[in-house]
Symmetry: D2
Subunit: 312 residues, 4 copies
Amino acid sequence: MFSIRTDLAIEAHEMLTESTSDIQGVACDTSRHNNIAVTRVTVSTEEAAKALGKPVGRYITLEFNELNLADAEYHAYICKQLANELNGLLPKKEKQLILVVGLGNHNITPDALGPLVVSKVLVTRHLMHQPPFTAEKGIGPVSAIAPGVLGLTGMETAEIVQGISGTVKPDAVIVIDALAARNLNRLNTTIQLCDTGISPGAGVGNKRKELNQKTLGIPVIAVGVPTVIDAATLTADVMHAMTLSSGADEENERSKMLAALHHLLPEDISRCMVTPKDIDLTIETVSKIVAGGINLALHKGLTLEDVNAYTS
Amino acid sequence: MFSIRTDLAIEAHEMLTESTSDIQGVACDTSRHNNIAVTRVTVSTEEAAKALGKPVGRYITLEFNELNLADAEYHAYICKQLANELNGLLPKKEKQLILVVGLGNHNITPDALGPLVVSKVLVTRHLMHQPPFTAEKGIGPVSAIAPGVLGLTGMETAEIVQGISGTVKPDAVIVIDALAARNLNRLNTTIQLCDTGISPGAGVGNKRKELNQKTLGIPVIAVGVPTVIDAATLTADVMHAMTLSSGADEENERSKMLAALHHLLPEDISRCMVTPKDIDLTIETVSKIVAGGINLALHKGLTLEDVNAYTS
Amino acid sequence: MFSIRTDLAIEAHEMLTESTSDIQGVACDTSRHNNIAVTRVTVSTEEAAKALGKPVGRYITLEFNELNLADAEYHAYICKQLANELNGLLPKKEKQLILVVGLGNHNITPDALGPLVVSKVLVTRHLMHQPPFTAEKGIGPVSAIAPGVLGLTGMETAEIVQGISGTVKPDAVIVIDALAARNLNRLNTTIQLCDTGISPGAGVGNKRKELNQKTLGIPVIAVGVPTVIDAATLTADVMHAMTLSSGADEENERSKMLAALHHLLPEDISRCMVTPKDIDLTIETVSKIVAGGINLALHKGLTLEDVNAYTS
Amino acid sequence: MFSIRTDLAIEAHEMLTESTSDIQGVACDTSRHNNIAVTRVTVSTEEAAKALGKPVGRYITLEFNELNLADAEYHAYICKQLANELNGLLPKKEKQLILVVGLGNHNITPDALGPLVVSKVLVTRHLMHQPPFTAEKGIGPVSAIAPGVLGLTGMETAEIVQGISGTVKPDAVIVIDALAARNLNRLNTTIQLCDTGISPGAGVGNKRKELNQKTLGIPVIAVGVPTVIDAATLTADVMHAMTLSSGADEENERSKMLAALHHLLPEDISRCMVTPKDIDLTIETVSKIVAGGINLALHKGLTLEDVNAYTS
């Protein structure tokens, strides 16, 4: 019931190294410059994937300082780093068509990252033969959609994206999603990129079909930002810390605590999330940064000023 | 430049009968009860289709009084009539899956009909095995999506819907769209249903690929409400009335008038639309009625009170 | 740091009775019918107010079952009970002008209750001399505004409401606000009415000037629904339950736990909130119920069907 | 019925000079640089005000080219010109508090200018004692509100703004409003500033109480952008051009034409407006420019890059 959940490979790796020192098939490397830490976790075997709870693939995490709304220069720097990392994961084809998919529910503030980013992406596929949108100027063909969530459409995102891919035939898909972290400090200060697409259980709403190269036949790059912590994860961590500090047996404590908490914490605390009270401002700022990085990566001839002028 | 445009078959038929009395291949019949006029226009030959500018098929128009916000009973009556007509156009299969597609741009008030209706449709496909959503209770499987417009997605609606149909495999599609009328009196007081789907040139934004049984392989029922008049159509009608009343030669007058109007009316008046100043209220009311009709048609075991409780 | 916060008088009373059996100046009485529990807490002395952390006045709590979206009859019943209780708190004057104020930030889903309710209230002040809005029909004059939050306007809600009251001169004000509860089970299943207005520290965003009869000169009725729990409150309750169950000394445990949790829980957990993952649906449903109750209370000649037809 | 309406003093002046060459009490002067025309119309006598239909005062119009979304440099230039002109109209006091009021209905795209601008204004009044928002850095105290329209609040904007001014006590008010023009070419390519506030009959919705220095006691600067043409104005202009070009008598023609148009144009064409089909994009771009100009004028220590980083 109170299990710890994280969508971040970097946190899954941290948890694993807490309990064991010998992890085969996972490499982890961090570099740091200009107040951004870049961590690369590579999962190379199925055993490691199982231990970590993340599919085989590459996971890149950008960690930055809490965003000071006014520091335009720092924002621009993060955008450029994100663009670089994104280009490292995308195929190297010329004039390739990219489909950007914003997952999540625009009616729930911390889950609106995907739809917000899509609204700020410079969409050009339909304009590629009109000036000034020509490949000569370093503008690539881009499509984008925020398909909505299962509860609103009655359809899995995977079904919708597979369908659209069949007719629109992109060369690669970038999916944007709000994630759940374990660590409160990571909310809205971390961007995770990976080449493994979307797994069941990831994202704010956590039941979904997988969406990856295997199911889609083309590369699926996922870009996620943790905006919530599962309330059950927070509870579990508090309980764990209490038992650690008291030296008590955790399993034993857990059942006693559940009895004591019974009237306050119903069993369905797992249906709750923890999110900052100013999530409206942070989600807006973070979505600008993610969209900026995507725009720079897909339209190499443009500067950040250009894409800000083109998009809302 | 100032050509008259209407998305309504009933108006296209009126225009044709103004200029000729002998129209082969078009039948038109009107019945009236309880302050609703139901007109059925049937286009049966390609010649008639060409003359009318509407594909071969059935067009049903419900015309009602201007909607008094407070007349709940009249609203309910229109919903039920719409449900009846919709059921007449849909296949008769048991437990068939219907995909409702809301066309149009939710950022432009008179073009937001489709997205608004989708937000009020009772979506059930993902819930069909959970109580109380079981076929025994007369609830059918329904999916819905508002895919956005070409300018925002870089993709034609037809591409998106064809793609989704390929994976989700609905038995029929209902597309909702805001239309352009010729006659100001018809704005927000008319619902057109047809079995011919979406044609190029229809809707508020008027360039698009066709979306119909031929391109999709399953029935495509279109439900539209006129919410705008093309500004060019209004201008043409005023000019026409002026020349009629003055007995002058229209072609001759037209060029003189264009010269006189030159500084006020640029050639691109065709990029403007005419819409009521209270379009926010009327589009909300009309979308409730259209969604109500769809909900009653697709969930035959429910009353209007039920669907109002289920939906927002 | 991890103090327990609740905006509900019923919970403050529960907490007080946990630690002491002898509370002077507070009366608490619960009645139950048709799956609704109505609890009346009356705070009659300043000492009791201080002990409870709630101003002297009357607090009425309606507790209902989790809202089944489809149970239209139960919703209607709650609306009527709310209307009754609201009428008990409002002045008894004929044709009095009521100003409904929706507090909170419409950009943050669990804080959007006030703006959502305002959008569903039947506003009539400007129409009172037009049919069908006449006092004979039992429709009262109502104004409404959602003034936005300090961070967006640079102005305290109290400044805005005081200003408007000075020119519009309502006879009473109803303020709607999203609240913080202690108990997860109360989220979106409880409505609190009180005649004490808004206190500093209440609401989802918790710094604000008071807004009550003393500052405004007219009755200020507050209607609130808990939609969040402070993350610090949840943490404190888990810690408390752990120490209770382990028999340890709480103060001692607390500092040890804080050390153990240090990297996961920064000191500013107080800037986080806990809210249901489906808050978009529950806030929509609850806002319909609160608006329905207000509409029935202020427009006594109308039925719930009438107000649903009038409003969106 | 088909009278010509314009909220632009420059157009009212053009209309007047069409019919008479001798206008006392109105001065009009145009200068042009870098693709922006700046026209200053000064109305200095009550007779001139009556003839023009605009109160005594100063009206400044900036006319620019149609906005190419990608020309960031031109946008910045317009922002700076707007800031200059705005500073010319505002009082010269140090650290004065400005209240920005966004008129109009955010639910109607062409009427949403005011609310959109307010959402992009850098609001600082509540932060003036926190770094980095200190007067030393050239940041002034600013409040902002979009109070909603009479139909939604039951209150006149003038009542709300007068009330708030009474408690918040700004030194001046800037009101932002979407306007009606006569000339299609001016839509979204013209900004009008004036020191006469808001007059009855101006704006997209055209009944309202005046809001100016006389009623408020402090300077009221209005900033407006024409986003619509009254459908009746368009009709009247087409009729006028037709009769001009045919040499017919206008009054006589008018009644004949009305008969001819009877079934298409109901008498209430005056309840319709003409607006561009891509109004969603243009209103977003124009609101960015107006907000940029206001931010530069009120926060003299900031650059446009700074305010873009601070605001959404």
